[in-house]
Each structure stands twice: as C-alpha cells, then as structure tokens.
Symmetry: C3
Subunit: 261 residues, 3 copies
C-alpha cells in the first residue's frame, strides 16, 4: 500500500497512477490549455476521455478568468504567436499567485530560436513539470541529454523533467523513473505528445508530488497507447482507439500493463 | 400529415424534422460558422454529414462576403477573441439586413464575465435561436432555469431557447417540446454541443419556424448520437460513428427513434 | 523502367508515384503548412501517415525559421486572415530564395473577392503547383475550365495546374494526365482537398518534376481514398480509414489500383 508518510518510489508509480486516475474521475479537475491549433481538439478529447474538463481559450481578455477557476494549466508552445504568448503570461501569473500547478510543453523549440528564448523565460516562472523530447531538451538546456544534465536541469529550474521518446524518463533531482510503455505508431498521430502533456496536467491537478504526477500522466498515456495500438490498423484508428481505451481504462489494467523501471 | 395552415405542435416535431432533413439534403444550404478552434473541424464534418455546406472563416476582411452568400450563420463564443468578435459583428449585420437566420451558442459564458457581457450584447441583435446548457442559461439570464424563466427569456429576446442537457427543451413563449434522445457518452466528445448548434443552423436555413427548426436540429443530433453510441466503445469511436450515422440517417429512422414529449 | 534521360509520360505516372512514395518514406521530408484552422489537424495527420514531417506555425516571428528548414511549403487560403497573409509572404520568400518548392491551394476564392486578389498576387511568386477545383479555377483565371484555358494558365504563371473534381487533371503547358481514382464520399470529409495539397507538398519535396509530383500526390490521395471508402460506412470512418490506408500503402498497391489516362 502507498503510505502518505514517505515519498513514493519508482516501483510504486503504477499503483500511484491508478489512484491518481481514480481521483481524476471523482474530482473532474478543470484543465486550462494554451495550446496550438493542431492539438486543441485532440487534447480536449483526451482530457474528456480521462475524466477531466478541458478549456482552451487563448483570448487575453478572459484567459485570466479561466485560469482562476482551473485546477491546472498547460502551456504548449506549438503554433506560437503574440496572442498565445500574452495569454500564457496572464494565465501563468494567475496560477502562480494561487499556488496552483502549471506545466510547460516546449514543442519544436529546436526549430525556432525565438521559441527557445521564450521557453527559457517561461522556465523562470517555475512550471511544476516540463514535458519534452530529446531534441527539445537539447535546444532548451543547451546540452545533450544525459542523466546528469537532466538532473541538473531539474535542480536549476526546480521542476520535473518528463523526457519522452522510445522510453519516457521522469526525473527530479533525486528520483528517476523510466517508463517503457507506448507503441511506435503513436508518433504518427499528430499532437499525441501535446495530448500527453494535457494528461500530465490532469494528474498535477490531483497530486501534489509533481514527480509522481508527471510519471503517472506518461504511464497512463503509454498504457492507453499500447493497448489501443493492438486494436489499430494505422494512425487513424489509433487516434480513435486511444480515446476509447482511455475512457475505459481502470486502475487494475493500468497496473497490469505498466512497464516501469 | 403536416399542414401549412397552422403552427406545428410538439407531437409533430419528428415528422417535421424528417421533412427538414430531406430539405437540407436537396437544397444543401450554406452555413457560415464563427466558432472556436476546438470545434471547427468537427462542426464542418457534422454539417457535411447532414448534407449542408460549411464555411468557417473569421477574417474580418471577408466574413461579410461569406455571410452574403450563406443561408444561415452560427456564432459560437468558445475561444472568444477580438478578431472573432469583430467577425461576428460584421456577419450578424449582413444576416440581419438580409433577414436571414443566425443563432447564438454562448459556450462557457459562466466562466468569463466579459464573455457574458458580449453574449448579452449579441442577444439584442435578435438571434433566431440560442442554444445553451443550464449553467450558460443561468449566467446569461441572471436567473435559474425554470419553465417561467425560459419563457420570459424567449419573450424578452424574441428568440427560441434550445436548452440542452439530459433532456433538451426547446421553447418559445407559447410552445415547448422536450427531447429525450441522446446518450450520456456524448458529453465526453469535445464540441458535440457546438456541432449540434451547427445542425440547428442547417435547419434554420430551410425552415422558417425557428422553434420547429431548433427542435429538429436537436432531435437529429440526439437520434444520431444515440444510434452511434450503441455501436461505440467510447468517445473516440462515438465521434466517428455519429458522422457515419448522420450521413446515413433517413426520415423513417428519425421518426422511429424520436423520443419527443 | 523509368529513365532519367527523358520526361516522364502520363502512362508512367503510377510507377513514378510509387517511387516518390518510397522516397518520402526514406527521406521523411519536412513540409511546412500555412493552412486554415479547420484543416490543420487532419493535414498534419495525413502528412505523418504518408511518411513526412509536418509543421504548422503561422506566427510571423518564426515562420521564416521553419521555412528555412522545410523541404516544401504549402500555402492554403482557407481561414484567410492578416496574420496568415503575413506568414505566407515571409515563408514564400524564404522558399523562393532557397529555390525550394512551394504550392498554392486557393480554397474558396470564388466566395471572396479579397481572397481572389490575394491569390493572384501569390501566383506572381511562382508556386510550383496550384491545386484547385473548378469553381476556384474560374474565379482565379477569370475564365471557364477548358483544356486551352488550363494550359494557358499553366504557361502564364509557369506553374502546374492540379484541377480536382470527379476526375483530377494535372497539366503543364505540354503534358496532361487525368486521374479517375477517388470516391464520391471524399467530398463529405472536410479538408480532404486541403490534406491532398499537403501530400502534393510532400511529393514536391522529393521530386523535381513538378508535374510528376503533383500527379503523384493526387494519385496517392485518390487511391488511398478509394480503398478507404470501401471499408467505410460514412464520412466519419472514411476520415479515419484513409489515414490507416495511407500509412500502409505500398507502391505495388498504388500501381495496381491507379486509374490514369
């Protein structure tokens, strides 16, 4: 059993993720997403499928109000524009003032120096977690991915690193967990990673330990993707099936299929 | 048989909806939608599935031209921003001048006071129908949902109220119809309500009695959703199947499955 | 066998398309799309399914950087607005300076005079191909579709015309190919044409003969759509199945099902 008295370890992540999934369904947290236009619909459907309530406005006039009643905030830098930057600044400030969690997904920073620069500014506003792939980490950290650089990045920015790829690695400055669920077909569905970040957002909304929440989010996505891929003929059906699987996923199946080291 | 000489009653809604569905397919009306980014793709696909022709531009420079050749206009306030407000104002004016129908979907007004204020301004421009849920009605009307408040709202704004929820209620100041089709899974698909408003738009384009058109639109959506849910494993497949069902729906099936009081 | 020494003829298009499809999968070209909000997600998924890497930003601050590392650019005029115009101008200039291909999809120009005017300006920037339907051609060329007008348009603007409809016609000023693949259900899926233009973009990225690339793109889309339609109950499942089919399509099946005159 999970004990509230000591930090959760990597072995306990599946059990913790099952508990988090249950809490999402009971509490139906509100997740506000400032995300790119490609990802908006799929992200909203992912959040609904997992049991959360998405909102997506990027209008500076009202994003502060939405953040005020949200339980977590995702800022995703794909389709990065002046309006989204303004909205992100407002919404992050509201979350930080209320001590509510927000996370950063610095999509494609390696393709655009102004995007990298903006992502670095946002890191100073203390996201609870940063989800990114290897190329994005390298651009943002200015150094290659290694255990030590991940750990240093985590310590420097006081954040959790959720590095996704063939295996997902979640790291704070003391703990590391490696998740090998998922399926190669998942990268052929646009915004799959962005939607995964939304699920981390839902986990952060109901779990204070951000390392646990980040790992739980990636585990939930990985198991759902893996189960969905088995039923799919290609990326089209995978994008549909993952929503069905996520909607029907229970803690027992999550624990049974978890591949966590 | 439906008679042209007297207003249609609630019992006749299924038959009227079947006739409207047929007219949409014959006339292929053009529906212009100023809607949120989350809903745009699904809404366009819903309109195509029902037999209408969607257009979606929000650019102030050209939205007037699109409205000029449209048969109905939907204004949806999700992802509300300055550009969409400007576009809505232009497009509504064109529709009103031509005496062509437009309808309002005040998504999430309860989450954002500036959105509520703007929705109230739009109500003065006489939408033929307003589709909203209970929380949105309460925010907009400043009062709880009851038979009397719905009726008063309808009279005050000279519009049809299409209140959606477990049961859908369509009201003008004299008539009321209650539709109990649909499926609980529908709320787990993002933009399902927004897409439903688009279908009402298609009905308004081919039916002058806005109360009948609003009821027909919600009935078509409800029956399609219910039939699609039976074939679906979760919200992912529901979003796919509802388009297939809608595309294949005929008047006989619509009447057979209608649950109207 | 295809010879590098002489231009490919219409009969050889299926074989050339099979080779192009193979090259896309090996080279995984980057296709930057400035496209409408309705089409963004489906277009990205189409590109991923065919084996290319999509990017979609429209922010003027960074679109130049994306164009710099892209192998082809699509400019689609649906949801045409000031920001997208600015982004298109920047991105096209980058592509032209690097002598890399870009193509134009002048969606719905017949509905909006300012859109037509802007499309005409863009034609002066030498797109390698223009994909459009009959109504769009008529608005843009100021004349009806006939063999002679297509050919004159192609010569005047030094571009390939990819005219889509019941049959697709691809023309330069000397060569013509007619493709009769596809399925009537395809027009009931929003952004199917836009996504088709993206596939042409992927072909242009790996094939210098723009007439061959345009024909290959439309053939790949047509065959995939036709095979997918056979397995589909309506437009919802078609949109899913075409991604699966595209992902699994190989050169043999492409050649086997090609209907090319």
């Amino acid at each position: 059993m999970l004990s509230p008295d000591r930090p959760i370890t990597s072995k306990e992540i599946p059990m913790a993720a099952a508990a988090i999934l249950e809490r999402i369904r009971v509490r139906t947290p509100r997740i506000h997403c400032i995300t790119n236009a490609v990802a908006q619909n799929f992200s909203a459907n992912m959040l609904l499928a997992v049991g959360a309530i998405p909102s997506m406005t990027i209008a500076p006039e009202e994003v502060g109000q939405f953040a005020l009643s949200a339980d977590a905030l995702l800022v995703n830098l794909g389709t990065f524009d002046a309006e989204r930057r303004k909205a992100a600044d407002i919404a992050i400030d509201v979350m930080v003032k209320q001590n509510k969690p927000w996370l950063l997904d610095p999509v494609f920073v390696e393709r655009s120096p102004p995007r990298t620069a903006y992502a670095q500014l946002l890191l100073e506003k203390h996201p609870r977690a940063v989800r990114l792939n290897r190329a994005e980490f390298t651009a943002l950290a200015g150094t290659d991915v290694e255990g030590a650089t991940l750990s240093r990045f985590s310590a420097l920015h006081n954040t959790i690193v959720g590095l996704t790829g063939e295996a997902d690695i979640v790291m704070d400055y003391g703990r590391l967990v490696c998740i090998t669920n998922g399926d190669p077909l998942m990268v052929r569905v646009t915004a799959m990673g962005c939607a995964g970040s939304c699920i981390i957002g839902a986990c952060l909304a109901v779990e204070k330990d951000a390392w646990v929440a980040t790992a739980a989010g990636l585990l939930i996505l990985g198991v759902a993707g893996q189960l969905a891929a088995k039923q799919s003929q290609g990326p089209g059906s995978l994008a549909v099936n993952i929503l069905d699987v996520l909607h029907n996923l229970d803690g027992t199946a999550l624990i049974e299929h978890a591949r966590v080291v």
